[in-house]
């Protein structure tokens, strides 16, 4: 064993000593325990993640239980079972409107985000120029890493009464136009938040599309659009399915954009839950509303699973080849 290329360093020596000590420790164990690691080790490795996610799992049960408890304005929670919260949820038109708006606007945002993500992801993967690819990646990740609140603030500055768009319109003698507190503004801002998610989900799928197949299609006389539609999109379907699911679930639960950009006029279910929780302290009704939101989004996700498959959300097994 030659160590020609390595220089002696205290850090390296300490590390070797530590590893040696660990090995010595390990060798005291019965040989079987490490020679043929039992599957138990595999299950043991999963325990921390199972426990962490368990918070949500147990919490969902807790939520379902809260949803049938009684609300009292003074005592807040009374441990008496009731269906009053559910009755109220189903009987109030105002709640229906908010649920319907959430689903419709979320669908619009999801379709637009996935449609726009396809060309972006495709170009990012396929473009030959390295600086151009870098520009596309940076324009994707800087907003992605900037977070929803800062970008909501950015949209307030862009669309506000004295904002950028109105300043531009003012040059032409138009306006000021009120953009904020409209459904269009909420969709626009949400689209900017969700687009990076969709691109990140779709790009790997496009990376896996064999370039030769595209060349074959164009050799057979398909133009670019036809190649994109008939070859790239079907092969990238798993990524598209994954993107659709992720964008839909995140958008359906959105709070900040409807609150800040919608100004209380374009409330989503999340805004309703927040108000129920903190304005009236009605935990049982907030729980029932939350359970209803889970039911609605799950139904949509299952629908997507059925039509285009689980997509990239499944973790694939197998060695070699990424």
């Amino acid at each position: 064993m030659s160590r020609r290329s390595e220089r002696w360093s205290p850090l390296l020596a300490a590390r070797r000593a530590a590893v040696d000590a660990l090995i010595a420790l390990k060798e005291r164990l019965p040989e079987d325990a490490y020679r043929n690691p039992p599957t138990a080790v595999g299950y043991l490795l999963l325990v921390p993640a199972l426990v962490l996610v368990g918070f949500l799992f147990v919490g969902m049960l807790l939520l379902a239980w809260y949803s049938v408890l009684t609300f009292d304005p003074i005592e807040i929670l009374v441990y008496e079972l009731t269906l009053e919260n559910w009755r109220r949820l189903f009987a109030t038109t105002g709640y229906h409107v908010i649920f319907l708006r959430t689903i419709v606007l979320t669908t619009v945002v999801t379709v637009l985000a996935v449609a726009l993500a396809l060309p972006y992801a495709y170009l990012t993967v396929r473009v030959r120029s390295a600086p151009l690819r870098k520009l596309l990646l940076v324009s994707l990740f800087v907003p992605f890493f900037t977070g929803v609140i800062v970008r909501a603030y950015g949209w307030l500055i862009v669309l506000g009464r004295e904002g950028v768009v109105n300043a531009v319109l003012g040059v032409f003698g138009i306006g000021p136009v009120r953009f904020l507190a409209s459904e269009g503004a909420v969709v626009l801002a949400l689209l900017q938040i969700m687009l990076p998610f969709a691109i990140v989900m779709i790009a790997p799928a496009i990376q896996n599309v064999d370039r030769e197949l595209e060349l074959a299609a164009s050799n057979l006389g398909a133009d670019r659009l036809a190649t994109f539609r008939r070859v790239v999109i079907p092969l990238a379907a798993p990524g598209i399915a994954g993107a659709t699911i992720v964008v839909f679930t995140i958008t359906a639960a959105t709070f900040a954009i409807p609150d800040l950009i919608g100004g209380g006029r374009v409330d989503f279910v999340a805004n309703l839950v927040y108000r129920t929780l903190f304005d009236s302290g009605n935990y049982p009704l907030a729980a029932a509303t939350s359970v209803a939101l889970v039911a609605v989004t799950s139904a949509v996700v299952v629908g997507i699973f059925r039509t285009i498959g689980s997509g990239t959300l499944g973790i694939r097994r197998g060695g070699g080849g990424g």
Binding site: V142, F145, V150, T249
Partner: protein, 279 residues
């Protein structure tokens, strides 16, 4: 201003270059680049506003709001808490992610499909519901209002990102390499430390970076489970925006844009941005 001119120049270069390869696609994507960047970078421009009202074009340029930052103890404290929370979240997520990735892919696990579905729960449960759920649990446990609960909550809701990053690497790692190391006389532990772990590193770095940045930015769950004493920076920015759109908040928010740019730079240096687009 230099940055804006630079961007414009690069955009023009981009448009000039595009027509050759993908003309229509290029035009659509160039519009998307503007759409993605403008609302993000506008905060930087607004933070140099001279007056106390954000207005376009700005009355005059000044750095007064940045000069005021060190005196803003509320914002500084919230920023410190956000960093603390993000660090805690990442420190929890990394070992859990590595263990889960190895467990799921290297061992014969029964009901692996079901377990994977279960581990996706943080993504399939709507974020606002996760927030309510964690609020109820922490309330029942009597730990609501302690800062570590926020870090734990963020580790839970973003865990799938970490697991994904690691599993894609475990998948890509050729088991033959580990066999080779063993055949050459390496101990199992040595094999793990010198072959397995280094091969997983890009996935761990990618996942860790994503966890940290997402935690630094997380808003909705934090809004639900923080009490006034432990608000994190995004929550404080939110309440400040609701109060008034002062350029001071723009200066605070700019810190986030810079942090995001730094994170992107770090990601590019450490693993290459392309790594984030791998399956």
């Amino acid at each position: 201003m230099v940055a804006v001119a630079d961007r414009r120049r690069r955009l023009r270069a981009l448009l000039r270059r595009l027509p050759g390869e993908y003309p229509v696609l290029g035009a659509i994507v160039a519009a998307q680049v503007v759409f993605l960047l403008v609302p993000t970078l506008i905060v930087l421009v607004a933070s140099f506003q001279g007056g106390s009202v954000i207005r376009f074009p700005p009355d005059e340029l000044s750095v007064q709001w940045y000069a005021a930052l060190p005196g803003e103890e509320r914002f500084l404290a919230a920023f410190y808490r956000s960093v603390l929370v993000a660090t805690f979240c990442t420190a929890v997520a990394i070992p859990v992610g590595i263990a889960t990735g190895l467990g799921l892919i290297r061992y014969e696990i029964r009901f692996a499909g079901g377990i994977q579905l279960y581990l996706l729960l943080p993504f399939t449960v709507p974020l606002v519901v996760s927030g309510v759920v964690l609020l109820l649990i922490f309330r029942e446990l009597g730990v609501l209002g302690q800062l570590w609960t926020v870090g734990l909550a963020l580790a839970i809701i973003n865990l799938p990102f970490m697991i994904w990053s690691v599993t894609s690497r475990v998948n890509a790692l050729d088991p033959e390499l580990e066999h080779a190391a063993r055949n050459l006389g390496a101990e199992e532990l040595q094999t793990f430390l010198h072959v397995t772990l280094p091969a997983l590193m890009p996935g761990v770095i990618t996942g860790g970076l994503i966890m940290f940045v997402l935690a630094l930015n997380e808003f909705l769950v934090s809004l639900l489970i923080t009490t006034p004493n432990i608000v994190t920076l995004p929550v404080l920015i939110y309440t400040s925006i609701r109060a008034n759109v002062s350029p001071l908040v723009a200066a605070v928010a700019s810190v986030y844009v810079l942090a995001a740019a730094l994170a992107v730079l770090a990601a590019d240096r450490l693993v290459g941005l392309e790594e984030f687009l791998r399956s």
